[in-house]
Symmetry: none
Subunit: 193 residues, 4 copies
DNA sequence: GATGAATGAGCGTTCATTCAT
DNA sequence: GATGAATGAACGCTCATTCAT
C-alpha cells in the first residue's frame, strides 16, 4: 500500500552497494580489473546489470569507491598515536599491524598491487597512496634517527621497500611464503635494543 | 633474382618475429596487455594483422613467447659461475647485475610485474620464475651461511623480498626513487666485512 | 483531517497530469523526444517514475496527449467567427494570430516540427493536423477568390507554405530571423487594398 | 596466393562505403536518426556490425559523411554561373533546379529537415548549411534589387522561407501536395516581366 | 496515490581471429 | 609470405517499464 519509508530504501541501498562492492572486489582481485566484466559482477551478485548502474555510475566509479574505501581503512589503521614518538614497541606494533591488515584485507591489496602498473587506473588513488606512503616513510625516518642511523631516510626507504617486497611475495604466493618466520626476523632486526 | 633459399626465408621469419615481439613488448609494457590491441601492434610493426597470425597463434601465444624469452635471458644472466662459492665481491656483483638487468630490460620487468597479479597469465611463467627464484635464494642462503648467520634462509628470503620491493618501487616510479643511494646502502649493508 | 473527497482526488490527478505534461513538453522541445528520458521528466516534475505510469500508459502515450492537446488548442484558436466572410482585417488578424500562437506556444511547435519527419509518430496527429490545414486553406482560398485571383487555391497553398516556412525558420533560429519585418511585409503583400 | 592489389581493396572499400551510406540514408530518412540502430543498418546492408566500424568511426561519423556529401552535392548544383547577373531565366532555372534536387534527393532532404530540430546533431552541418542559405539569399536579394523592389532583402527572405515551406510540405506529403501547380504559380509570380 | 529498486532488451562500440585472394 | 575485409561475441552502458511495499 504505502511506499517503503526513506529508511527502508536507505537500508536496501546500503546493503546492495556493499554486496556489489564485495563481489566486485573479489573478482577484480582474482581476475584483474580489465578481465572482470560488469556482467560477471552482476551475475555473481545475483542482480541485473542495470541495477548495478543504479548504484555506481560506471565500472571505473565502482573501482574508485572500492579503492578509496580500502585506502581510508588502511589509513585509519596505520594512523599512529600522534605523540611524535615512535618507540621500539610501536615499531613492532606497526610491523605487526601492517601484516594484520595485509592478511585480513588481502583481496584489497591484491587489487591494489595489480593496479599499480596500470598508470591510467592508478591515477585515481595516487594521491591517497602517497599520503600513506609519506606518512610511513617519515615515521620510519624518525625512528631510525632516534636510533642513531647515519642515513635514516635511506634506511626508511629500504625498510619501506622491504615491506612492499614481502607483501607482494606473500600476497601472490601465500602458501609458499614463510610469513611468520620473516615477520619474526624483521622484528628481530628492526626492534632489537 | 634467384628464388630465396630456405635459409633466407628462415631469416625473414626470425627477424619478423623479433620485430613483432619487440613492438609488442613495448606496447604491453607501456599500455598494459589488455589495453594493447593486435591492430596497434601490427600497425606499429608495419605489417598486417593477418601476418601476425602467421607467426603467433594468438595474442596470448605472443605474450607467452615474450615472457618466456625474457625469463630465459634473465636466467642466463643470473647464472653464477657455479664454483659453489659466493664471495663478498660476487654478492656485490650480483646486486649490481640485477639492477643492471632491471634497467636495461625495464620494459620486460614492467610487463612482468604487471602480469604477476593475473593468476591465469602468471601460470605460464610460474615454473620458470620459481627456478630463478630458488636459485637466487639458495645462493643467498649459501652466502649468509658462510657469514655465520643463525637463520641464513630467512635472511635470504628477506633480501630477496627487499630486492623485489626495490625493483617495484623503482620501476613504477623511476624518477622518484633514489636508486643509486639505495643500491649503495644495500651493498654497504650486505657486503661489509 | 477528513478523507479527501472524490472531487479532491480528481483535482490532484488533473493537476499532476498537467504538471507532468508541462514538464515533458519543455524537455521534449528542448532536448528532443528520444533524448528525453522518463527519469528526467519525473525528476524535473518532482515525482517518482512509478507515479508517472499511474497517469500515462507509456512514454508514447504521454507524447500523444501532449500533441493532441496542443493541436486542439491550436484548432480552437484558429477557429474563425464562421460568418463565411474573410475580410481584409480578418486576414491580417489571422496572420497576426498565427504568429502569436507560434510565440506563446513555441515549445509545442518546436516539438511538432521535430516530430513531423518521424512518420510513425506523425501518424498520431495526422488527422487533426489535416483538419486544421484544410480549414486554413479553404479560408485562404475563399479570401483570394474574393480578391479576384485567377487561381485562388494555388495562392492559398502558397501562402500556407510560406507561413510554414516562416514558422520553421523562426522557430529554429529565433535570434537570426527578422520576424517582425517579415510579418509586416506579409501583411503588406496580402492585405493591401 | 598473392594478396589483392591495392586497387582491388580500394574498390571494395569504396563500394562497401557507398552501400552502407545508401542504406543508412534510407533508414535515417524513414525512421529518424535516433530510431535507426547500427544493427538495422548492418542487417539491411547484409554485413556485420563490426564491418561498419571498419568504414565509419561512429554512428555520428556516418551521419556526418552522409550530410556533408549531400550538402556538397546541393552546393554544386546550386552554384550559379558566377557572372554577377541573375536574369529572369536564371531565376526560373534556379527554382526549377531546386525542385529537381528536392525530388531526386528526397531522402537526403527528409533527413536534413528531420535533423534541423535536433540542435546537437544539426551543429555538424550548420556551417555548410548557412553557406548555401546565405548564397541563395544574396542571389535572391540581388535579383529583387534589379527588379526595383523597395525592400529586396525582406523579399528574398520571404522567398527563401516560401521555398522551405514548399519543400517541407512536399517532402512529408508528396502525394497530397500539388507541386507542379505550385511551381508554375511560383515562376509566374517571381519571373513575370 | 506514491515510491524507487529492479529488470531486460537493446544500444553503440571494440577486437581477437579467420580467410579469400 | 602477405593483405585487410569480414565476422561475431562480448563489452560498458541506458532506459522504458514493472512491482512489492
Amino acid at each position: 500500500m504505502s511506499p517503503r519509508t526513506e529508511k527502508q530504501f536507505e537500508e536496501i541501498r546500503l546493503s546492495k552497494k556493499a554486496l556489489i562492492q564485495e563481489v566486485a572486489l573479489e573478482l577484480f582481485a582474482k581476475k584483474g580489473y580489465h578481465s572482470t566484466s560488469i556482467s560477471m559482477i552482476a551475475k555473481k551478485a545475483g542482480i541485473s546489470k542495470g541495477l548495478l548502474y543504479n548504484y555506481y555510475e560506471s565500472k571505473e566509479d565502482l573501482l574508485n569507491e572500492i579503492i578509496t574505501q580500502g585506502m581510508n581503512q588502511a589509513m585509519q589503521m596505520m594512523d599512529p598515536n600522534q605523540d611524535g614518538q615512535v618507540t621500539r614497541d610501536e615499531m613492532a606494533f606497526m610491523i605487526n599491524e601492517s601484516f594484520e591488515i595485509l592478511q585480513t584485507h588481502s583481496r584489497f591489496w591484491i587489487l591494489y598491487f595489480s593496479l599499480l602498473p596500470q598508470a591510467e587506473v592508478f591515477e585515481i588513488v595516487k594521491d591517497k597512496f602517497y599520503s600513506i606512503y609519506k606518512l610511513m616513510i617519515s615515521m620510519l625516518t624518525d625512528y631510525f634517527k632516534k636510533r642513531g642511523s647515519d642515513d635514516p631516510e635511506a634506511e626508511a626507504i629500504i625498510l619501506g621497500s622491504l615491506l612492499d617486497g614481502i607483501y607482494i611475495n606473500y600476497i601472490f604466493n601465500p602458501e609458499l611464503f614463510p610469513l611468520e618466520a620473516v615477520k619474526k626476523k624483521l622484528i628481530d632486526i628492526y626492534c632489537k635494543k
